[in-house]
Amino acid sequence: MRGSRFGRWNGPAACWLRRPEISTWLDAQFARCRPRAIAALTRQFRDIDLAEESFSDACLRAVTRWPQDGQPDDPFAWLLVTARRAGIDRLRKTRRAMAHVEAEMANEPEFTMPTADDLRDDVLRLLFICCHPALRRQDQLALALRVVVGMSVAEIARAFLVNPRTMEQRLTRAKRTVASNPVPFETPAPAERLKRLNDVSTMVYLLFSEGWSTSADTVQVKLPLCHEAIRLARLLLDLFPGMAEQMGLLALMLFQHARLDARTDPQGKLVPIDEQDRSKWDKVLINEARALLQKAARHGPPGAMQLQAAIAGVHAVAVSDSETDWVRLGDLYAALYALQPTPVVRLNQAAVLQKTDGPAAALAMLEPLVEPLSAYRWFHSMRGALLLETGDKPAARLAFERAMDLGPTAPEAQSLLEKIALCQK
C-alpha cells in the first residue's frame, strides 16, 4: 500500500494512476461529457460535423494534458472551452466561417459556460435534430448513436447488422438531410420543448426496442443498443428531473432489461416471458424502476410511458406467470387505451381479458380489430389460440394459417404448425 498511486487526480504526479486505468477513466469522462459538449458546440457552430471534430480535438488534447497537469476541477468545462477554441481554429483555417461564428469569435474572451438550462435545451435540440421526420427511423437511431453517444460507425453497423460501408453512407446522407432542414437554435417555448421531449423519448424507446427485439443469435450483438437507450433515458431524466414521463421511460426499459439474463437458455435460445426463470430477473433494476414509478405517481395521472412501465412492472413483480395480477393489468391497459386508442393496445388488452374473463370475452374484444390488424400476424395467432380454447377448431385453423402466411420467424412457424396439427385432431 506504500506510495499508493490512487487518490486525487490533481495531486502530485507521483500519485498518478496506472496507464490502462487512465485511458479507461478518460474514456468514461469523454463519454459522460460528450452529449452536453456536442450539443453546446452544435449550437455555437451550427454545424454537427464541426462540433464532433472539435470535441475530438479537445479529447486528444486532454489525453496528453491531463496526465501531466492533473485532471481539471471541471472536466466538462475544460473540454468545452478547449473544443470551442479548436473549432474556431479549424474555421479560421478552412475559412468556412459564417456571420454567427464571426460574432462568436469577436466576443471570444467573454465566453461564459452555458447555464444548466441552456445545456438542457441544447441536448434536447441535438437529439431532436436526430429525430428528423425526413429520416427513416433506423437512420434517426443511427445518427443519435453516432453524434450524441459517440459510438463508432463500425459499432453502429454491427448492432444494426449492416456492413460498415453501408452505415457510413447512410450516416453521411442523414447528416446532409439534417443540415438542409435546420431546427431553430433559439430557446424553445415550453410547448415546443414538451413536444421535442416526447419525440425524443419515443426515439429512445424505439432504440431500446431495436436492441431488444432480436433473434437468438444476435442477442449479444444488439445489446449495446439497449444499454445506450438506457443511458440516454438517464441523461434525459438528469436534464429534466421533474418530468414524470421521463421517469416512466426509464422505468419501462429497466423493467424489461431486468429480464436480460433469463431471456436466453443455456443453448442461447430465446425463452418466452411466461417460461422464464424469474429468479434470474435483476431485482436491483426492478426496484429502481419501481422507485421511479413511485416518484412519477406523485405528479398526478400517469401518461402513456408510465402506464406501459406500470404494465411491465406488474409482470416484473409477479412470482409466476399464473400469479400475475391480471385484474390490475386489465385496468392499466384500459387506461392506456384511453390515452392511445390503437388496435395493438386493444389486442394486448384482449390478451389480459382472456385471463380474467375467458376466451369468449377476449374474442368479442378482438372482433372490431379484424380489419385494422388483418396484416398483423400476432393478431391471427392470438385469435387462433382463443378460438381453439373455445373449441372452434375449423376457425382456429384458418386463423393460424393466416398467421403462417404473414412471414412468421422460424420458432413462431414451428409453434403455429403444432397448433394447426392440434386443430386437425
Binding site: 486505468e21 438528469d238 416518484k295
Partner: protein, 123 residues
C-alpha cells in the same frame, strides 16, 4: 471507535467502465466485506442512482416540506454508498478504507457520533 467509510463519485461514471474495471472495483468491496466480516458486525449500503432520489426542502413556517425530484445539490460527485464498523483508531479505519481505493471514487473516513437501527441483510 465507530467509523464510517463514505464513498463519493460521479453518478453513472462507474456504469460506463468496461466489465473488467467494474470487476476490479467489486473485488475491492468483496475483500473489504470479507475482512470486516471476520472482525464483527458491520453495516454497508450502496445507493441507487440519484435519478431515483427525491429531495425534501427545508420546512417553511406553516407548510409541509416541498418534495423535489432529483438528488440534493447539483454536483459533479455524489454520495454513492457507505460502510460503518468499529475500528481501533483512525489509522486502522484508513487501512480498511484502502480496500476501496480506485481511480473512480473518492473515499472519506469520518468518525460516527451516533449509530442506531439495523440495515437489512438483503435490500
Amino acid at each position: 471507535m465507530y467509523f464510517s467509510i463514505l464513498i463519493y463519485g460521479e453518478d453513472g461514471a462507474w456504469e460506463q467502465l468496461p466489465p473488467e474495471e467494474q470487476q476490479k472495483v467489486m473485488e475491492g468491496h468483496k475483500a473489504l466485506q470479507k475482512a470486516l466480516g471476520e472482525r464483527g458486525p458491520f453495516a454497508t449500503a450502496k445507493l441507487m442512482g440519484a435519478s431515483a432520489a427525491v429531495t425534501l426542502q427545508p420546512v417553511t413556517e406553516g407548510a409541509d416540506a416541498l418534495v423535489l425530484d432529483g438528488p440534493f445539490a447539483d454536483t459533479k460527485e455524489r454520495f454513492l454508498g457507505f460502510y460503518g464498523a468499529e475500528f481501533e483508531d483512525l489509522d486502522e479505519a484508513i487501512r480498511f478504507a484502502r480496500f476501496l481505493s480506485s481511480a473512480y471514487a473518492r473515499i472519506e473516513v469520518r468518525p460516527v457520533e451516533w449509530a442506531g437501527g439495523v440495515l437489512a441483510q438483503e435490500a
